[in-house]
Symmetry: C2
Subunit: 280 residues, 2 copies
């Protein structure tokens, strides 16, 4: 039986290769997959495109382009757009990058910048270059506002409002936004911004937040139902905004990664059916 | 020589008792101190009030009341207000609490609530009760928006805008807000909200954010200059809004706590003079 609009972001079943993830989706009735560029590169771009086409699996997103605030970003992002085009991905997720000179997991580089407003302006400038390039290739960029705890090292775009302010400077088919429960559930303004987003919603990602937080806050995510987030109101708001695309489950969590991927996917499917799908 | 408007939040020099902190302030020319209720209780409330009065030290804040979203909060918050009155504290900081049944550092209790909107409404209801009580005793409540990473277990008030929306339902002398660099630096709306706040700013707390984050994200704070925050624009905005009170340095950081408190206070004073004071 089909899992409807559920999509497996392959990072959730981290130990699976691209081929194993696509096979797992087929066995579990999951019709869409979110792919990561490094995994795609490992399997081969053309081979991955063939694999998903032959399996009849939709590519709900390619993760990820971005990191636009540092020195060199153009070539890598053009390549990511080209890859998304070849895979027929519904969107290319952009994680925009943190302060210049501040990389994830590393001490700030000598001479790093504390100029947050400047870093945010760089993102806008980079989008001016990338959006038309994406448009020419039929690829939709999906700006992802990350949780504010990642502002310094991963994404200076911290709220859905910010993402929409940036996206709306471009045609909707070129630049959309990601609504992500983990990153945005706390935001007092999130329901208003989801309504505002309308057809700008390029991707809806569902993921819970653990409490208490684990030692690595990057891994504070959980399968829906295992944390503190109420998926009903957020999902209903996304549906009311008109989003009709796939719903990706993307979980960064050490225990989930250590578990049997087949069991993980079965749990994901059950939780999606119980907590998310009724509100779509 | 006086350190001007610098205030030592006593948690920064955690190993010091109330008496040691007040003595340390005197020796370092720091004219104000932010006190914590449990330390005050240890020294005795009346004795602490005498101690700061005799030393000529201003009490820039008493930390903390709040945790208004769970079952019982009234008696403890009335007591906190009474204590703030006796100490002559410039404000009583309120950390409003997380989701009902979700306590800091503990697994959610059975039957805990995921109703974030409901928890936020409880805060508003509680303030309706506490604000007049504080007003009668000449105490100003200071609503503190905590970083969104603490939304589940410590404070469902996550942005300065939210804090102001709540505060503005009451007279300014009864309910103000805390501007805190650690909690709010990432917020794209923070400068607009600081300007809006005007005389609602009851406390300005400066604290840096580490990158990368340490294993306990509660301790991701640092002495100004040791992290990624640009104190100039935020401080200038607070000054432009008309804030003329003390500037508290409150640092939760395991390395700082392990260091010699006198060295910590000397560093705090130097950093304040270099990074904060020029923008006031």
């Amino acid at each position: 039986m089909s899992a409807g609009r559920l999509s497996l972001n392959q990072w959730t079943t981290r130990s699976w290769s691209v081929a194993e993830a696509v096979d797992g989706c087929a066995r579990h009735g999951v019709e869409a997959v979110g792919l990561w560029r490094e995994h795609v590169a490992g399997h081969g771009l053309a081979a991955t495109a063939r694999l998903v086409r032959d399996a009849g699996v939709r590519v709900s997103s390619l993760c990820r382009g971005g990191f636009l605030t540092g020195g060199t970003w153009l070539d890598d992002n053009r390549a990511a757009i080209d890859e998304a085009a070849e895979l027929g991905a519904a969107c290319l997720v952009l994680v925009v990058g943190g302060l210049p000179g501040v990389a994830p997991g590393e001490p700030p580089a000598p001479g790093f910048s504390r100029d947050l407003a400047g870093a945010r302006a760089r993102v806008a400038d980079a989008l001016d270059v990338l959006a038309p390039y994406a448009g020419e290739r039929g690829v939709r960029l999906a700006l992802e506002a990350l949780h504010p705890i990642y502002c310094a090292d991963r994404a200076v775009v911290s709220t859905l409002k910010q993402a929409l302010d940036l996206a709306e400077r471009h045609p909707s088919e070129q630049v959309g936004v990601v609504v992500d429960t983990f990153h945005q559930w706390w935001d007092p303004d999130v329901f208003g911004q989801i309504a505002r987003a309308g057809d700008r919603i390029a991707s809806y990602q569902v993921c819970d937040q653990l409490s208490p937080l684990p030692p690595d806050v990057l891994l504070a995510r959980a399968v829906p139902g295992d944390g503190v987030i109420d998926f009903g109101p957020l999902t209903a708001a996304v549906a009311a905004a008109g989003y009709a695309g796939d719903v990706e489950v993307e979980v960064f969590n050490a225990d989930v990664w250590a578990a049997d991927p087949d069991e993980v996917l079965a749990t994901v499917r059950a939780r999606y059916a119980a907590l998310v799908e009724p509100h779509l």
